[in-house]
């Protein structure tokens, strides 16, 4: 399934949708349970995305050739 590729935003949106659906409680029990399962999985996914994230900082640089490149950037401490 495409689940793996969900962005945090998408995962979060799906999660809210699942919770709302479950709260409305209009689906059959087995569907409720599979929604719950999906929700729990998304929850874990979101948390692990937060845990694993590492900030990436680059700087745009104009080469002498006029070409634009991105180089790693670390701001100097003052």
């Amino acid at each position: 399934m495409a689940e793996k590729k969900l962005t945090f935003e998408q995962a979060m949106a799906r999660l809210e949708e699942i919770v709302a659906q479950l709260e409305a409680g209009e689906q059959p029990l087995d569907q409720s349970l599979s929604l719950y399962e999906e929700g729990a999985k998304l929850m874990k996914q979101c948390a692990s995305m937060l845990d694993k994230a590492e900030q990436k900082v680059t700087k745009l640089r104009m080469e002498t050739t006029g070409e634009l490149t991105e180089v790693p950037f670390a701001p100097l401490e003052e």
Partner: protein
């Protein structure tokens, strides 16, 4: 001096007089602008007047371009320059070197003017403001790569939402080159689609230091950006034209970083909250199912088949009992018949009489001796009595007379 001279010569003579005058070479004049005209050449012409008098003034292209505010009719200004003659018209006029607003600061006036103009043009229209992406993938920081502002922004972005990439687009943020660089950087990020959110700004400074963000060039670049822009210039009380045009104004660069991305701590709380809701919802769902089950199992619809089964089982038990009883009765009857027959048999048994003193003689080969003809003297004879057998030997034999009669 009776010789007539040419008009040109006269004008040149007067011009010479004025040009040589030390006072007229550098005057400061205050007055109100009227008849202000901009020519395609770039020169500006106007009159400066007070209650009684007026003087023609000219502001050449180079000086006009250096003005930060826009001169308007009725505006009170102080002009510095020299007085000379324009020989072609024979008119003396004030050649302006500088013009400053009278009473208000030049920058303040320029700010107000641009603000009014852009506002009228609709650049501040709230309806034109783009929403910020809730989870930006990449933020372009159009700012100076040195200094506290960029460092603070990167630190706060990283702490709150490290999933967002940060691209620093280095520009000068003060000085003459700054507005052009900032505007070009904004256009570049848009043209190459380098980010889905832009923060442009700088740390605090004087009004002069922050001026680039009050330039029309920057304001227009912010306005035409199809990528949402957060403006973050100076400290809390500093408001620039960029702030008005931007999709969102941040009071400081740090504040911009806070506005730009969600806080992961809050998101984790939201996640926990969602998890509790998810749990509760599914619990409720299960409870409802349980309740339904209990309700159903209590209903006569579900109970009656069970009762029927029980009733059938009871009937079955009854039948089985009757069958057993019937069988029992039958075997009882048989048993009685057998007993009767056995008793009858028993009564007929020849062995029955042995108890009463009768005995049965057997020959050696097992045949019962019923006649004297079956033995001769010396033959072994077994005599069966009620409790055993006596082994004997025939001594002799004698025929009885009554035997003949029967």
């Amino acid at each position: 001096m009776n010789e007539p001279i040419s008009v040109t010569a006269l004008n040149q003579y007067v011009k010479g007089l004025l040009d040589r005058d030390r006072l007229l070479g550098r005057v400061y004049v205050c007055g109100e602008i009227s008849n202000y005209k901009r020519y395609p050449s770039g020169h500006h012409y106007f009159s400066l007047k007070d209650a009684e008098s007026a003087i023609r003034c000219v502001l050449f292209r180079r000086e006009a371009a250096a003005l930060r505010f826009q001169p308007e009719n009725g505006m009170k200004v102080v002009v510095s320059g020299r007085v000379s003659v324009y020989p072609r018209d024979g008119a003396y006029q004030l050649y302006c070197a500088q013009m400053t607003p009278d009473g208000v600061g030049e920058l303040a006036l320029a700010f107000e003017q641009l603000k009014t103009r852009l506002h009228r043009e609709g650049l501040f229209d709230p309806a034109r403001k783009k929403p910020l992406p809730p989870y930006p993938k990449r933020i372009a920081l159009v700012t100076s790569p040195a200094g506290a502002a960029v460092r603070d922004m990167i630190r706060i972005l990283g702490a709150r939402w490290p999933m967002t990439e940060v691209l620093v687009v280095p520009v000068r943020v003060q000085g003459e080159e700054a507005p052009g660089e900032i505007a070009a950087a904004l256009d570049l990020v848009n043209a190459l689609d380098l980010a889905d959110l832009i923060i442009t700004g700088r740390g605090g400074g004087s009004m002069e230091d922050l001026w680039a963000f009050n330039e029309e060039e920057v304001a227009r670049a912010v306005f035409r950006s199809h990528i949402p822009v957060i403006s973050a210039v100076g400290h809390e009380p500093d408001i620039t034209i960029s702030d008005y045009v931007a999709d969102r104004r941040a009071s400081t660069p740090s504040n911009a970083a806070e506005l730009a991305v969600p806080d992961q701590e809050e998101l984790r709380e939201t996640l926990d909250h969602l998890y509790r809701r998810l749990d509760r919802a599914v619990d409720r769902r299960l409870q409802r199912q349980r309740d339904a089950l209990v309700r159903l199992s209590g209903s006569p619809f579900l109970r009656s088949p069970l009762r029927t089964v029980q009733e059938k089982r009871m009937t079955l038990d009854l039948y089985r009992q009757r069958l057993v009883n019937a069988l029992d009765r039958q075997t009882g009857a048989h048993r009685q018949s057998v007993a009767r027959l056995a008793a009858a048999l028993d009564a007929l048994s020849p062995f029955k009489v042995l108890g009463r003193g009768y005995a049965i003689p057997y020959r050696e080969d097992g045949a019962v001796l019923a006649s004297i003809r079956q033995v001769k003297a010396g033959d072994p004879v077994d005599i069966r009595v009620s409790d055993g057998t006596i082994h004997c030997r025939a001594e002799g034999k004698e025929k009885h007379q009554w035997q003949k009669r029967s």
